[in-house]
Point group: C2
Chain length 320, copies 2
């Protein structure tokens, strides 16, 4: 187990022993469900680039991870999701009320950890964290709005995924840098890198649903297509399709009774006709390049950049 | 309109114009529902005692009021309450999902305001606010636990109302003092005063349900009795009742079909037999006296204490 995970598991154990148990048990359960701990890893990595101490950044890394899991917990209630990472969601295992209140406690707990930071930039860090946190709520609201809206533009979709996904990744990097006393300019460039990498990863997710190898990707192909999920690919196709292609797409979107395989085949065919696959790959490449351009402007040794270049490259794997 | 309310209304107006509207409209609605703005008033008062500037304390006062309204908003979902202050609750007016997410945003918004404070005690203020905020969640959890539990002790009840109600009042006072650069000892004594006044007010609430004048109190007499609400009076009666009185009390608590007037009359009779009314008044007096003792130890001029003595006295009005 890596440094963060070791400390975090001990923290989860302490939380699970805190009273009232009915409040803190769901918190510990939610935090134990795993996940890649991507945000703490990025924060610790950003700190290490500027020779910062991992111990010093730890409260912020825990705050990020707890806040991220809080958003998943409450999103699962709102989306009425039964499972997360193959395990019952908090509201299914306990109750909706337990999930609401434990989520509330997690959100506050994140700020409680943040308040233990030792830094002369505390005010800035508090402001950045709370601004970013509220942006994630705005992203979730847009995501919910889109479900019931007929028309969503590609620009609106990109703004939604920026808020819902990219900002927390980007802020993890920036805060890690600031806590290692990196300059403001380098810290902001890391944020810019993070936004672009985050967007590339989300587009990769959308693309892999259609074109990914289910054995590697771990999800059934075309799940988003069957659910009419407003992904970048669907929105782009809706914008690009004309004439009979447009009519056919709308026909399949409106159809409530269909053979999944047939719908997937037809929609993929429309994606081909409208050049959506290539458009997605191009946009991902664009974000990937912008991420590297931000790195390029940073005043750190190029060997320090390699791992970040590699990480950005992962957003392009199986897609290039 | 007083200073706080004027500024706060302008802030609510700004919030109501923020996008996405579906997120911020319910926030503005929740904050517009009124209420006494007790916590900001206490905070500003505490600051004025130590000659602090109201402008400086304003972000913390707004944070307190927004956080308090967030707890009401989420409590209303959990309690499935249709109305608050005679108006539809947020989840009734909008939707459960809107209420969950807007509440989340309010909780974070409170911290965002807090992060704008100009103070060299920012770390301490952030730590106090987040610790107190999580205590309020613990109090709500205990309150929900009690509803389904057969037995709740008086001590457990007092701990619940301390967490759910008193700590936020007390912290408002302490933070107001700290922001005016009051000493730690005086600030902590104000907190102690606030805890005791908060407990006295909650007991007064319980007492007035039974003994208050409905015309003055604005609620139907005996509402708590009909609902089997575990108030201090009921829990104390359950502890004190013996023999046939104990049997009779349990009989009426278990009865699902009853004449409200008859149930209220019988339970009040049991309260008389078990001396519960006097016990409640004595405990309120006790908290009231402890609040004044805390004030007494403070190193401020006695004329500065008078308004706080008056405020504590209000917890005893119609009860003495």
């Amino acid at each position: 187990m890596n440094y963060f995970e070791t400390v975090f598991q001990e923290e989860i154990r302490k939380i699970s022993l805190t009273v009232p148990h009915k409040l803190y048990e769901p918190v510990a359960y939610s935090l134990s469900m795993g996940g890649k701990r991507l945000r703490p890893a990025l924060m610790l990595h950003a700190t290490s680039i500027f020779d910062g101490s991992p111990e010093r950044v730890l409260p912020a890394a825990m705050a990020m991870e707890i806040f991220h899991n809080f958003t998943l917990l409450h999103d699962d209630i709102m989306d009425q999701a039964d499972l997360r990472r193959g395990m019952p969601t908090v509201h299914m295992k306990y109750s909706s009320n337990a999930a609401i209140l434990s989520g509330d406690a997690m959100s506050i707990l994140a700020f409680k950890y943040l308040a233990t930071l030792k830094s002369d930039k505390l005010q800035q860090l508090f402001a950045l964290f709370s601004s970013t946190a509220i942006e994630v709520c705005e992203g979730q609201q847009l995501d919910m709005d889109f479900e019931t809206r007929q028309m969503v533009t590609v620009a609106e979709y990109l703004e939604m995924i920026r808020l819902k996904t990219a900002v927390l990744i980007a802020e993890s990097l920036r805060m890690g840098a600031l806590l290692a006393d990196a300059g403001q300019s380098d810290s902001d460039l890391l944020y810019e890198y993070g936004i672009n990498v985050g967007l590339a990863f989300q587009l990769q997710d959308d693309w892999l649903d259609v074109y990914g190898d289910p054995d590697i990707f771990g999800k059934k192909q075309g799940g988003d297509i069957c659910a009419n999920k407003k992904t970048y690919l669907l929105l782009k196709a809706a914008e690009a399709a004309t004439g009979s292609t447009h009519i056919e797409l709308n026909h399949w979107l409106a159809k409530s009774d269909f053979d999944p395989k047939q719908k997937i085949a037809v929609v993929i065919d429309i994606y081909e006709k409208t050049g959506v696959s290539e458009a997605t790959r191009n946009l991902m490449k664009n974000y990937h390049d912008r991420a590297l351009m931000a790195l390029d402007k940073m005043t750190i040794p190029s060997e320090s950049k390699q791992s970040l270049i590699d990480f950005a490259g992962e957003a392009m794997v199986r897609v290039k």
